[in-house]
Every structure is written in structure tokens, then in C-alpha cells.
């Protein structure tokens, strides 16, 4: 059995158990995959004390009102899983917020079935993407789990099922990224046991690539997925057709870091989707993903029109800063003119953007904040074409380029959270950056921009997919 564990704020299916199930089936073994997180979200929504439950799952805090219900939840969930008499149970941790419930669930499973083999996988096994493996290794040495999988587990899990328990990425923080060819031959996820009735967003996740074409200085994802590898547009489209035929769903979340990282592939994909939508108006597809703004020469207007026809509904774009020199230092080499053109196209073709900003990059000064404030004043005519977030100010994540080059950048980091750093030359410090963020937030609200307060960008994209924001 392969299941997700709570708690992830997501209103659509989580892919990992369904994908791993397909790997198991390819070995002619039986497997069931459940998204337990969906059941828990449903439970929390209808519970008398939802905040207390969320506080426990996210922070491990105790509340008298819910302790009996939580104990019952872990006991019943373990009973439910064991009722299938599995030899192996795999738990998929989407984020580190899943560690608390994973530990309790493993305890209950091992207590009743000491012989059972428990596997853990997913980004949530680590507190940060590029970090030591203390938590998950501790789970293994204490005997609560038997194996854990790091990174993309399609190949390592496949090897494990074939009897190779020492393959790269098994019980080790070191793993080997899949090649494009291996991604291309990945099986389609099997959602047969998922209850789509539990989800607010009836959409299917599909992935087209891993890694990124950009090397942004603040990003930890590229330290983990060091190469940009892709599936072809035709393969992605075929999977969409397959899932549509099997489950009747027409909306997709393309879980790439960038859907248009490879422009040739992206143009092919939107062409296929646009043609499909034109020829199948009763079964047209919609999709959402992460996106980058490109110069007009690379992506002229006709391609924006095709993007709209392909069914694009919500596009997350990392603008980060409105000062070009700051963006260029980050590694984001698109101009303000490129932003203007993209916003104009979005308005013309009714595409919704979610613009993400990071306030207080290492080189940013008051002058840059003042520039941003003026930009927002000057572009109020676009305020209905996008929603935006200012984030929680820049965090220097372990293992990133910024982290490795702290000294040269005159940055001193003084403890967690990762926003606790200061620049010895510019004087930028956490309080200053928090004030910049607050000032910009207030200004944007006053100007009528739709400013979202969540820093969970995946969740915001899903809310946009539901037209909730």
C-alpha cells in the first residue's frame, strides 16, 4: 500500500502514491494507493475544532479538545491500512509538515505488525531540500521505518522492487537524478483508489520536467534537481488524454518548475492542446502551472493566443523584484519591458497570472523598494489581471548559491528561520525588510491590487484554479 500522510494544504490529488503504484504494478505485484491527506482535510473541515487539529498536524501542539480524536485517527488509520494485509506500506511525505503524522502512523503500524516493511519517500523526509537526513535517518535507526527514498524514486523504487535495496537514493541523502529518457518512460499514475469526490479541484497532476532552466541564486530546488530534464510534449499530452479517458477529468496541474522552460516543447504542447480544444469543445482541457515571462522576440503575441486556446487558466510567475539589476543578480534575466508585454498579453487573452515577489533580496536597498512602489502606482491598470504575493521576505536557504557565497555578498546569517540575516554593507536586516514588505503590502492594498497573504505558492495556484481568488 502506498499512501500520502497529512497534512498538506491541497485541494487536488497528490500524485506520488498513484505514480509509485504504477511502478509496483509493472513488477506484477498488487498495490493500492490512497491519498489519506484528502480524507484528513475533509475531516478537519467538518470537525468542531479544526484549528486545534491543524495546529497539531503542522506544529505538534497539544490541545485537550482533540487528543481523543487524534488518537482514534491514528489507530483507525493503521487498522484500515493493515486490514488490507500488506507486506509493505509506503508513506509519501509531500512536505516536512507531514513528519509529525508520519511518525505516529509508523509507530501504530509497527506496533501491530512488527514484521511489516515500512518505506518513506517524498520531499517531506527532509526539513530542507538540501540538508542532512537527521529526521528520516532517525526514523530508520529507531526501527520505525525500514527504508527511505530520496529524490525522484521512480528508478530507485523500481530497483528496490527488483530486490536491489542499495541502489542510489535508498537509505541515503545522495541520489541520482532521472534522465530525460527515464522520465519519458515513466508509467502513468494510477488513481483508481482515489476518491475524487473529496477534492474541491477535480484536476489531475501531470509532470513534464524536473529541475529548471534558470539558476536563481536563492533557489534550493536546483541544488536538489541539478539538471533540467524533460518529457516530450507529445508524451505529456498522451498522458493527459489517457487520464481524461480513464477518469473523465479535464483539468490538469502541470507540476513543472517551469512549464515553458523548454520553449520548443512548450510550443508543441500548447499547439496539441489548442488543437484538441478546438476539435473537442465538449471535452476541452484546462491547465495551470509555473511559468516564466520571456522577451517578445522569443514569445510573440501569436503564441500568447495559442496559450489561451490551449486552456491555460492560472500561471504562476516569479517576478521577485521590479528592479532589473536585482533580478539580473538573481539570475532572472527578463526586463521590465518583458513584464509589460506579458501583462498586456495576459489582459488581451484573458490569462490569469499569480505574480510572486521576494522582498529584500541581498542587494536590494530602499531605493529599489521605492522603485517598486512607483511601479505599482504606475501599473494600476493591470490590477485586475493578476494576483500577487510579497512572500515572507528573502530566506537564505541552506545549500543555495546565496548560502555558499555569503561572505562575498557581505551576508551574515544568524540562525533560523532563514530570514534571519543581515548585510554588513547595505545594513539590510530582518526588521528593515519586514517593514519594506509591510509598506509595499499596504500600498498595494490601497491601490486595489489583489494581494494574497499565503506564502504557500502551490496552494495559491490551486485557489486560482478554483476561481477562489
Amino acid at each position: 500500500m502506498i499512501v500520502t500522510v497529512p497534512l498538506v494544504t491541497s485541494e487536488m490529488p497528490i500524485m506520488a502514491p498513484a505514480l509509485m503504484k504504477s511502478v509496483v504494478l509493472s513488477h506484477n505485484k498488487t498495490c493500492a494507493a490512497y491519498d489519506l491527506n484528502a480524507n484528513v482535510q475533509h475531516w478537519i473541515k467538518n470537525h468542531q475544532y479544526p484549528d486545534q487539529l491543524i495546529d497539531f498536524f503542522f506544529n505538534g501542539h497539544y490541545h485537550d479538545d482533540v487528543v481523543d480524536d487524534l488518537a482514534e485517527y491514528f489507530q483507525e488509520t493503521a487498522d484500515l491500512l493493515l486490514a488490507h494485509n500488506p507486506k509493505v506500506v509506503g508513506l509519501s511525505l509531500f512536505s516536512y509538515a507531514c513528519q509529525i503524522s508520519a511518525k505516529y502512523l509508523c509507530m501504530m503500524l509497527k506496533k501491530q505488525r512488527p514484521d511489516i516493511t515500512i518505506l518513506l519517500g517524498g520531499s517531506g523526509c527532509y526539513t530542507e531540500l538540501v540538508a542532512d537526513s537527521n529526521w528520516v535517518e532517525g526514523m530508520r535507526t529507531s526501527g520505525l521505518i525500514d527504508y527511505y527514498f530520496t529524490g525522484d524514486a521512480i528508478r530507485s523504487f523500481d530497483e528496490f522492487l527488483g530486490g536491489n535495496t542499495t541502489f542510489s537514493g535508498i537509505n541515503s541523502p545522495n541520489w541520482t537524478q532521472l534522465t530525460s529518457e527515464e522520465l519519458e518512460s515513466s508509467p502513468y499514475p494510477d488513481y483508481d483508489e482515489y476518491d475524487f469526490g473529496l477534492y474541491q479541484i477535480k484536476a489531475i497532476p501531470v509532470f513534464g520536467s524536473r529541475g529548471c532552466v534558470r539558476k536563481c541564486t536563492f533557489c534550493d530546488l536546483i541544488e536538489h534537481w541539478t539538471k533540467f530534464t524533460t518529457r516530450t510534449a507529445d508524451t505529456v499530452f498522451q498522458e493527459m488524454l489517457y487520464q481524461n479517458e480513464k477518469y473523465g477529468l479535464r483539468e490538469f496541474k502541470i507540476q513543472n518548475s517551469l512549464v515553458n522552460g523548454n520553449l520548443k516543447d512548450f510550443k508543441r504542447l500548447i499547439t496539441l492542446l489548442a488543437e484538441h480544444n478546438t476539435n473537442n469543445p465538449e471535452n476541452s482541457f484546462k491547465w495551470s502551472s509555473y511559468f516564466i515571462f520571456r522577451p517578445k522576440e522569443q514569445f510573440p503575441e501569436e503564441w500568447w493566443e495559442v496559450t489561451a486556446k490551449s486552456g491555460a487558466t492560472a500561471l504562476n510567475v516569479g517576478i521577485e523584484s521590479l528592479s532589473e539589476h536585482v533580478r539580473y543578480h538573481m539570475g532572472k534575466k527578463f526586463s521590465n519591458e518583458d513584464i509589460e508585454f506579458s501583462l498586456e498579453m495576459g489582459a488581451k487573452y484573458n490569462l490569469r497570472f499569480y505574480l510572486m515577489f521576494i522582498v529584500g533580496y541581498v542587494t536590494e536597498t530602499q531605493e529599489d523598494i521605492d522603485f517598486a512602489a512607483q511601479w505599482f502606482r504606475d501599473h494600476v491598470h493591470y490590477k485586475d489581471n493578476f494576483i500577487m504575493t510579497l512572500g515572507g521576505t528573502l530566506g537564505i536557504l541552506p545549500g543555495t548559491w546565496l548560502d555558499r557565497n555569503k561572505e562575498e555578498l557581505n551576508i551574515v546569517v544568524f540562525n533560523k528561520p532563514t530570514q534571519k540575516w543581515y548585510n554588513t554593507v547595505t545594513g539590510s536586516n530582518p526588521q528593515m525588510r519586514a517593514q519594506w514588505c509591510a509598506d509595499l503590502f499596504k500600498l498595494c492594498k490601497e491601490l486595489g491590487y489583489n494581494v494574497f497573504e499565503s506564502i504557500d505558492n502551490h496552494y495559491v495556484l490551486e485557489m486560482m484554479m478554483r476561481d477562489k481568488i
Partner: protein, 133 residues
């Protein structure tokens, strides 16, 4: 029935250690530096008692010229696991109860002759863990 494992670390003076016995119901477990894990089974709620001896209060604490403690014969509880669920180390020091002449303190540092107790209240181990971890 729940499996409770207590791991201890011994600090000696001149090669001599304190003695420790962990008691839970009818079970008695002698803990030594070489065999430093007490393995007990119990239903919740339960109490584990640690019986400590072998400390000479006049000579087993070495004090420096400035009055600070240089060395001390003692035992520390370093890990507690219930059914393999290892308790958060930060919480560990808040579990054992040590009664002094006029008060009660919580500590995982045992440098005295006497008893310390580990109370495990709650309907089940799961209840206790959710509350205390």
C-alpha cells in the same frame, strides 16, 4: 502492552559509577554503563521508578577553586522511546520527577541517592505521546 526503552549515560569519578535500577510494576532492570538501556513493558497509565545509589555526597562532586563544579558522578537519561517512538530530546528533561525535601523538580540529570519517577499518565501510550511530545 507498550515497550518502553530508557537509555542512560553514566558519568564516573575515578572509574566508579552510580547504580541504577529501573522498576515498573513487577519488572526490575539493572542498568549499567555497559548495559545502559532499560527495556520495560507496561500498559498505560503507568509509573517507572528509578532507584539511584552509590553517590558519596562528600567526595563524588569535584568543585574547583572558583566554586564551580568540575566533575560530578551522575547519570543522565538521554533517550526515551515508546514503541520505537523516540521522544523529542527537548521534552526529555521535563519528564522525570525528583522530589526533594521541600519541592519537586523535573530533571533528566540524576546526581543523588534516592528515587526519581517517570509518570506516564493518559489512557494509552498514544494519548501520552500526543500530549507530551
Amino acid at each position: 502492552m507498550n515497550n518502553i526503552e530508557l537509555t542512560f549515560k553514566f558519568f564516573d569519578i575515578n572509574g566508579e559509577n552510580m547504580s541504577l535500577t529501573a522498576i515498573c510494576g513487577e519488572q526490575r532492570c539493572e542498568v549499567t554503563p555497559e548495559n545502559n538501556v532499560a527495556r520495560l513493558t507496561a500498559e498505560f497509565p503507568t509509573v517507572i521508578t528509578l532507584v539511584l545509589s552509590g553517590k558519596d555526597m562528600s567526595s563524588d562532586t569535584v568543585v574547583g577553586e572558583d566554586g564551580s563544579i568540575v566533575a560530578d558522578k551522575h547519570i543522565e537519561l538521554t533517550q526515551l522511546a515508546i514503541d520505537k517512538f523516540v521522544i523529542n530530546p527537548e521534552i526529555l528533561k521535563t519528564i522525570p520527577v525528583v522530589k526533594t525535601a521541600d519541592s519537586e523538580i523535573r530533571s533528566s540529570y540524576f546526581g543523588f541517592n534516592g528515587e526519581a519517577t517517570l509518570p506516564f499518565e493518559g489512557k494509552t501510550a498514544l494519548h501520552w505521546l500526543i500530549k507530551n511530545n
